[in-house]
Symmetry: C2
């Protein structure tokens, strides 16, 4: 009976924790930045490293090519009996590290250090997203195998290398290999806790439309003294378009953008109000005080249940030291939309592109690039594994596990449903202050340690589910 | 009598032209980019090189330190008689070269090549602005000295190294050395012809206010999935501010911006209309067709007599390959205004900064940087040297010399008036398609050759002016 074996597994996790940390560090040292082609070999190295490691505790682990960075498929050997089979998902790729000068130390030289408030933290790019998170599961499996000689249920570990760039090549990979990837349900470790003491399972996710817009004006850079006033400036065109995306009340002005967006059910809204997420608690730690979203919505709605728009990058003209009196030939921006249930990503993209195109002067050109097109996901709150996992998390953390909506997108969850027919259980140990996608990314040492213990408990609980 | 000696001087210029070109190339090879501190030694090298060269034909030439890049002061020896004394001004510093990938060849490896339409052109950063231009004057002096053993009038050559970054340290240098820099008037070679066949003297110049604006929001980069919708995005703030700088008719919306701006006198407007500067002739060569300025103004007014605003650079967030779902901590832009007579640069700067500050959310910060604050200049159309120079140019080019207004700023002209009490004569041989401040900067070989001959003629004419 798995639960009888749990305590020795947890004890082993505690005793072996220094080695778990060393294994995480080895993975963190690999510069697997998927967005930049210069790091393609590093991505391959990360995949090879992980597959070799997972094979050491009895998985048949393979690095599989895709049209982009490779994926890992690792299957545990069954015990010959019919028992639950889960598909675990994580990603070994990480975000770019710029601006590098804002890191306190090199992003690929992980350390354990002290947070200002005394917490022990692991600092490195990927410390949380998603290397630290995926290693909580890998280490839990290793502990089960080490202590009991077997895993309590059948497991397929699936790790991709293009999550941070939209999984464009991974989704076709799922389709091609769908027979091999059959399971009862999926588990994803890429989400957050409610706070440092309160575990959470994420039950809804925002979708993501991410476009790149380039405005082209003159056929070359111009001198603003000679051409200024007469020649169109693409930065002027671009800022005018982007500057009009919000009205004075924080609503997004693209026609049809809110079509299909539903208000929260009154009971959920009432529950969220009780969570008391305030500007003081949420914005003050990041140096802000005024919620930036729709003025007629609660902060927690702005962050969780309402669609958003952000310009994630903009560049044009002279950006070096000093000054240059140039009118550039082009300017570009990266713009993303977080979508909620009821919004169609393809319609949002079209509405945005129509909005932009209508505002480009007749003698300028606009080009669009495509980085993501993923719908929002509402998970089944009644799926059987959810109750089991929730109890296991509550047992580990000693606090009731919350069921939360996340503003972030994990588009792969929709693809698991569509391609493999699988529901997903989203459990993670990230915190709001982990600086993911930012300089000085960190993962609490406690998240890593208790995250491993949490998965060990969840595996035991799931093993006892009826098939 | 200088005019009797002119023909042998012109003949010598023709015979020695290959050597003139070689000397220009030697100067063009020096990477004297003043905006970037990494090139400080190159700026010093350019100053040393020029001073040594000018000393070879009888000038007492010195490299003088300033608080920034050094200046050159070179004085010819008089002939003991009271005769006209001119102060010639040029600058050895050049603009940065980015985006480097748009250059057809390395910017500091000058070549003579064929323009698409068959013109011979010199291609390099600084080929026109201002190394090619200043060398037309240097070579004319060299030819006079070489042929006649003397210069026809007294000359001080003054060359600075910070024109492209606002001459911040050069103006105090003028003040400190004003007694030594006394002359009858100044001559500046940093302007353009009307077209490739028609010489011009510039008699009005737009001023320049150039500011940098940085918007700061959160205290670190944020993940847009976690914070999007609730946390303010500085790119949103910046684009909203910049996007509102123009109304639908192309007018600048900053309160008070047009205060003091006068309409053109009817006779000048009538003359300008006859010049027939059309979108087809002016914008089509740069790939545009619609004048971008105030809709109720002629294109030539938009370019010459109306104040303008351009965003010369903007940057924020992730600008690398691919995508990153970041809300950056800050975003910044470089913004310049071309001013006309009647506008007070300090008032314009204040009005702009007030406009920006009023639009920054209460929990964000704004910082301003200062690159230029120069008024517009209207020159004295009746100054005596102007008529003499105009005739000399007409003799050389075989076409009537036009008196034109320039949209560009040459702020030093105001400083010569204010600090040294000197009027300036603005003669140059640039063309609209020289790509100054852009990739593939060029100078027509004809501009360089006939520019040298033009100065030789002007020196002869000016020598005969009554004192």
């Amino acid at each position: 009976m798995p639960h009888a074996q749990l305590q020795p597994v947890l004890d082993h996790i505690d005793a072996d924790f220094d080695n778990s940390l060393a294994r995480l560090f080895a993975l963190l040292r690999i510069k697997s930045i998927s967005a930049d082609p210069a790091f393609a070999a590093d991505c391959k190295a990360a995949a090879d490293h992980l597959a070799q490691d997972i094979a050491t505790f009895g998985f048949a682990a393979e690095v599989r090519p895709t049209a982009g960075h490779p994926a890992i498929v690792a299957k545990s050997s069954g015990n010959g009996k019919a028992r639950p089979h889960v598909l675990f998902y994580g990603h070994y790729d990480v975000q770019p590290v710029d601006p590098l000068n804002l890191w306190d130390r090199p992003p690929f030289e992980p350390v354990v250090t002290d947070h200002a408030d005394g917490r022990k933290i692991i600092v490195a790019r990927g410390a949380e997203d998603d290397k630290g998170q995926l290693m909580t599961f890998v280490e839990a499996c290793r502990a089960w195998k080490s202590v009991t000689g077997a895993l309590p249920l059948d497991i397929t570990i699936l790790i991709e290398g293009e999550e941070e760039v939209g999984s464009k090549n991974f989704v076709p990979f799922l389709e091609t290999n769908k027979d091999e990837l059959k399971a009862d349900f999926a588990m994803v470790c890429d989400t957050s806790m409610w706070d440092a003491d309160t575990p959470a399972i994420t039950t809804s996710l925002r979708g993501l439309v991410y476009d790149e817009v380039k405005i082209k004006a003159a056929n070359r850079d111009l001198h603003s003294g000679m051409f200024g006033g007469g020649a169109q400036n693409p930065i002027r065109v671009l800022t005018r378009i982007l500057g009009g995306l919000f009205d004075d009340n924080g609503h997004i002005t693209i026609p049809g953008f809110y079509d299909g967006v539903k208000d929260l059910p009154p009971d959920v809204l009432a529950q969220w109000k009780q969570l008391d997420l305030t500007p003081d608690s949420f914005l003050k730690p990041i140096g802000l005080s005024i919620p930036a979203g729709e003025k007629d919505r609660l902060l927690i709605e702005q962050l969780s249940s309402r669609p958003t728009c952000d310009v994630n990058g903009i560049v044009g003209g002279y950006i070096g030291e000093g000054s240059k009196t140039v009118i550039p030939a082009e300017a570009s921006a990266k713009i993303s939309f977080r979508l909620v249930e009821g919004q169609d990503p393809a319609k949002i993209r079209k509405a945005f592109r129509d909005y932009v195109t209508a505002r480009v002067p007749a003698d300028c050109k606009v080009e669009f690039g495509d980085h993501s097109l993923a719908p929002a996901i509402a998970l089944d709150w009644n799926m059987k594994p959810l109750a089991a996992a929730r109890q296991a998390l509550t047992d580990e953390w000693g606090k009731e596990t919350l069921l939360i909506g996340s503003g972030a997108s994990i588009p792969i969850v929709a693809d698991f449903k569509k391609t493999l027919g699988l529901d997903s259980l989203l459990v993670g140990f990230g915190l709001d202050d982990d600086n993911i996608h930012s300089p000085n990314e960190k993962y609490d040492l406690k998240s890593f340690h208790k995250g491993i213990r949490s998965w060990a408990r969840i595996l035991a609980s799931l093993a006892e589910l009826p098939r």
